[in-house]
Amino acid sequence: MEIPFIVNARKDTGLFNSKVGIWLFLASEVTLFGGLFSGYLFLRLYADYPWPERALPVLPGLINTFVLIGSSVTVVFAWAALKMREWRKFQIYMAITLVCAGLFMVLKGIEYNAKFGHQAVRLQGGGPVQDNAIVEGHLHYAKLGEDGLMVEVDEDRKKDDGVFKANRVLVKASEFSFVLTRPTHEAYVQEILRQAGDSKITLVEPYQVIDKSELSAGQMNRDQLVSSENAQVAEKGSELTIELLDDLEDSYLEARSHDRKIRTEFLSASWDWIRNEKGEEQAATYIVEKEVWKERRVEDGEKLKILTLRASSEVTFKVDPPFTLVLETGDLVKKANVDDSSVKLRDDTLVTGKVLKSPMIMGVDALDFRTTAQRAEAEALDPLPVIEGTWLLTHTPDHDSHDDHADSEDADHRNQFKKIWDCHMAWLKAEEERLKEKGRVPSRNDKYRVNWDQILAYGGLGYDADKVYQESKARTLKRAGLFSLDGFAGANHKIHKGEFPHLEIPRAKVGFESTFTPKWNTYYAIYFTITGLHGLHVIGGALVLGYYLFFGRKMYESNPEWLANRVEVGGLFWHFVDLVWIFLFPILYLM
């Protein structure tokens, strides 16, 4: 048996099978990306925060566009070579296509990597606008000091033991309560044990489950059984291990199954009773006859008290001596505040103790007050004074942890961010004047956002607002251009080490924080989703085309036309991938 029209076209349709297939597939891809673009459109049009316009560095995207267009040309050349039966040329063109695909993915990887390492924090505070200033930057690294508090360490040591990113929550843990109703998360227990070091974590009370066979034998009553040896699953003072927790869980779950089974039997018996004693009618009018029913259930309850095991669903371990537990914020069910007496992990484990001072420490490379301004305008306030009043521009840096003596000596009470903002206002003034000549006004981006290259430029002038104004007026302010390689994938903290201001954000001021991942806002969410899916298409296409390149020789010799058809079809898919990127590039990088 063979399927017709694989190689040659059917007469009435004029097409071979796989061409029909691929075009149908592409039509469905159109609706797939149509759905995603609808998502983009409506998330953007109805966003309740200022959409990050032109937020990505253009250069990698631009190079990727060239790469994909180039590969589109070579893939169609590869097909033409096959049509002319030039195997060698086909190989060359196809190989170039694959190299392009690889290059595209590498650039994509560099971009993604830069985003994953770039931190953003939305601050929170009082007042009608809830602060909402956003700082972007690069997290510093820290380790625990002698006193159990955070001490900053150099980034070079980030691989060392006990060094963590400075956005963690520190809890002085004195007690852990594990919930046995659902398997506790092993990774958490392991992490706790790892961090405990020399501290001992021991069971506070013996964990007891009565032997159910003895209970049903009826020799002893419940109280006697509780005190018997067999009831003990773990004795007081047992050290926490994963095996121990597993044991306790198993015993608890078994006891729960047993209890539930007995309770079910009792309930069924009650229903039989009401059916037999009171008749179907009354059973049906359950609600009406509730009183009768209640009595029966009270009786049942008394019996059940004796017959069930009633094991405890929680076990508590105490920690001696208490140690500082470093937790990721994502592992907590809700935000921790300094001095809270307990935090809950996502598997319901309760860590009792005290939440320590756990600030976020970062090098700041951008200030963004667009949200603040938007909220201020919504409250009919003038944005600029509101911005001036935000915590970021008014706080006094913590002098213990950071050497800032120069500041306190000259009577300048401004913190570094206020200085940057003042420079920015100076720049904005110059810009406004310049644009005014052309009958234009600065955009909201210009007004309320200070970008990394601006921070560097202002820093280069010693944060002197007057100088900034003059230089801007003279158009000699040195800002990294759009295509400079320092900022290939965003602000570069390696090259400009120490040039970005240092910021410690108290935990209470952190409203929302994330790296530049889909979590940060819907823009990055849609960016990662669409480009990720597009990247998968690139990989898929490259695999197929690579298959033709590396394993196509045999088919070329037996039936070159068939291979040409396949390459044409693979090429159609490849062009479609290119076509999607043609839209993605302006939408995500330039708008």
Binding site: L15, I69, H575
Partner: protein
């Protein structure tokens, strides 16, 4: 269909030309977005820039479809598939858009009161924050 050797040779020149055109228009798109004297509409990004960018993208996409994907000499059935996909994608966008911006709107405040945290900006019936 460029099936003959000469046809393909001729087509290859066309492919190169189109490839170059695509390069050029990519550069134009970037310039419209970044170079000040090509910045139409208001200063910075606005809907004029978006329209121009999308028009150029659509033009480039059309070139890819017509020349690289051979739609310029393809069977009507293929057009039918592709147009059907486009039409459905259009419906998807258009009707969702319409349903979100109905010319007759209910008063938003009726629906948002009490549903959401009022310290946040008011949300409309669609669960979106008021933008303006």
């Amino acid at each position: 269909m460029a099936d003959s050797i000469e046809g393909i040779k001729k087509a290859k020149k066309l492919y190169l030309f189109i490839g170059t055109l695509l390069f050029v228009f990519t550069v134009v798109t970037v310039m419209v977005a970044t170079v000040e004297w090509l910045d139409f509409g208001d200063h910075g990004f606005d809907w004029v820039d978006a329209t121009i960018g999308l028009c150029i993208a659509a033009f480039k996409a059309t070139l890819v479809m017509l020349i690289f994907m051979h739609l310029n000499h393809e069977r009507p059935m293929i057009y039918f598939f592709y147009v059907l996909g486009l039409v459905m994608a259009f419906f998807c966008m258009w009707l969702i858009g319409w349903s979100k911006s109905d010319p007759i709107q209910f008063g938003n405040e009726i629906y948002s009161d009490g549903f959401y945290d009022l310290s946040k900006p008011a949300t409309d019936v669609h669960g979106h924050g008021a933008r303006e």
